[in-house]
């Protein structure tokens, strides 16, 4: 750490979320392994990774729903449960979390009564656009209406940090757009948002910063453009029996080399150099060069690079 960063930290920039060496084991399964992460106030951060990468486990620890096996979690300088008790943190769940036999208004009033300070129930209902269905039983509401109710509940205490687990699952394109413009407007007022997703596209479009997580580790952390650049490159495929994989891997800009029977597949940023080498230095034939799709790039980052990028 440079000296400049050290002095910046002493100037009381309270981080919204701070994870230091956080690990979580479930028996023999190491769900989260030594994650270090600091999120500044007002940032919109995407937690991107495949299912089972450790996203939900990490979010549960930030919410104080579970305790890390090792390491420290702090939220706005407080223990997670203290932050929850003050209404500073809230979260929106993907499914469930509602009682079907309560009305929409009762659900909001019930939740509001548990906080020391909340916004008025009617105002929150109006903001979420659910005043008209206030007297309807939750069980009779559509999926979209229930989702709006969950947001209303999460925003009751005017939280400084909002956690969203796969927030737009099941929303249509229009709903998704409206949802994110609301979230962005809130973030401009200083609210920090951390959302988990397994869609690179969604992370890229709506987050200031993407934290890529795979097998319980952070494998990349940066802006959407940076993450895409990491995952960029092309695939060169050729027929080359007994390929010298070590020589190929030693070429500049080569990420990964694999062989399948007589074929060799090279993932590289500089595909020209690989092709030139294959055609001039080896008896390779049938050379194909293809651009990697965004999802494929994502898979190569989260699937193969276990720990290698750290």
């Amino acid at each position: 750490m440079s000296l400049g960063q050290g002095t910046a930290q002493t100037a009381v920039t309270l981080s919204a979320v701070s994870l230091a060496g956080v690990s979580k084991d479930f028996g023999d399964v190491r769900a989260v392994r030594e994650i270090d992460l600091t999120i500044a106030p007002g940032e919109i951060v995407a937690f991107l990774g495949p299912n089972g990468a450790g996203k939900t486990t990490t979010i549960d620890m930030i919410l104080g729903l579970s305790h890390p096996t090792a390491g420290d979690v702090s939220v706005l300088g407080l223990r997670p449960r203290q932050a929850i008790a003050r209404g500073l943190v809230s979260a929106v769940m993907q499914t469930g979390g509602l009682l079907k036999d309560l009305t929409v208004r009762e659900t909001v009033a019930y939740t509001a009564s548990l906080f020391a300070d909340t916004r008025p129930v009617e105002e929150v209902l109006a903001d979420a656009g659910i005043t008209a269905i206030g007297d309807r039983r939750v069980g009779k509401c559509s999926g979209g209406e229930q989702q709006r109710l969950r947001f209303a509940m999460a925003l009751l205490s005017d939280p400084a940090l909002l956690l969203l687990d796969e927030p737009t699952t099941g929303m249509d394109v229009e709903g998704r757009r409206t949802f994110w413009s609301t979230i962005r407007a809130d973030a401009e007022k200083g609210r920090t948002v951390l959302f988990a997703t397994h869609y690179l596209e969604e992370a890229d479009q709506y987050a200031d910063r993407i934290v890529l997580i795979s097998q319980g580790r952070i494998v990349a952390d940066g802006s959407g453009a940076e993450i895409k650049a990491l995952a960029s490159g092309r695939t060169v495929r050729a027929t080359l029996p007994a390929a010298d994989t070590a020589a190929l891997a030693a070429l500049g800009g080569v990420d990964h080399v694999e062989t399948r029977g007589d074929s060799v597949i090279v993932h590289a940023k500089d595909s020209d150099a690989v092709a030139r080498y294959l055609l001039t230095q080896t008896p390779a034939r049938d050379v194909e060069i293809a651009a990697k799709g965004i999802e494929e790039a994502f898979l190569s980052l989260t699937g193969h690079d276990e720990g290698a990028n750290r």
Binding site: L76, G96, D101, A109
Partner: protein
């Protein structure tokens, strides 16, 4: 980058772990809207009283009242126990729906949540007792001194806590809304065994000795003691031990469950 405008320490924590009357009001309204609860709470115990209470010899002397009064106290215990058990089983149901997890995202203390559920169970139990007593009054057969009516009702309310705990325990063991299908017939069986519906001296020695060990026996003796002025020591032991067992069972299942909140 924008700076944080609020001071986290300036935000307040709610008093009493989140205990409040709004939640109690909503929970009660919710119970009273449920047709099933109303049938269990108000209709069945009153109907049982009308069918059992008119049996032969209802006006014979029993303690400081008559046999009809004895039956009335027993039926109000049964009604209140059933109601409290129904309330208790909702804890597990709410957990399976993810509501408990939702509540964990609020300042509500989990112990306060259980406490509020217990208060709701007590209020609902009181309603059941009130329904049976009002029916008994209208029927006009039960006779006992007024202070005995009140003493029996008050003692019965607290006896129902045992069954609220049983409800929580069974709710966890039997998932979903099926808990009441076990609790309903189960409590009826225990009530027969425990001498709530039929006095124990009508049973054979073998059955009676089994009955002394069952959970309804102790509380029914306690609930009727202001009327009968009799309270065997083993009935008190029975009530205390079963209460402790059910609370321990409920706590055990709940703590096992918190791992996945």
């Amino acid at each position: 980058m924008s700076t944080l405008t609020l001071d986290p320490e300036a935000r307040r924590v709610p008093p009493m772990g989140g205990f409040n009357l709004t939640v109690l009001g909503i929970e009660l309204r919710r119970m009273l809207r449920n047709r099933r609860t109303i049938v269990f709470t108000l209709v069945i115990p009153a109907a049982l009283l009308l069918s059992f209470g008119g049996q032969q010899g209802w006006d014979d002397k029993a303690g400081s009242g008559n046999v009809a009064a004895y039956i009335l106290v027993s039926m109000s215990l049964y009604g209140a126990a059933l109601t409290a058990a129904a309330g208790g089983s909702m804890v597990a149901l709410e957990r399976s729906l993810g509501w408990s997890r939702q509540l964990r995202l609020t300042p509500l203390n989990p112990v306060v949540y259980i406490l509020m559920k217990a208060v709701v169970a007590l209020v609902m139990g009181s309603l059941a007792i009130l329904a049976v007593n009002a029916t008994g009054k209208l029927q006009g057969k039960a006779e006992m001194p007024t202070h005995t009516w009140f003493a029996c009702a008050a003692v019965t309310v607290f006896c129902t806590l045992t069954f609220a705990a049983l409800g929580v325990f069974v709710g966890y063991v039997v998932p979903g809304e099926n808990a009441m299908q076990i609790l309903g017939p189960g409590l009826a069986l225990l009530s027969f065994l425990g001498g709530v519906f039929i006095p124990l001296d009508q049973y054979s020695d073998v059955v009676r000795h089994v009955a002394y060990w069952t959970p309804m026996y102790g509380v029914s003796e306690i609930a009727r003691s202001p009327l009968t002025h009799e309270l065997p020591w083993f009935a008190v032991v029975n009530a205390v031990v079963w209460f402790a067992l059910f609370v321990a069972g409920a706590a055990w299942r709940m703590s096992k469950d918190t791992a996945r909140v």
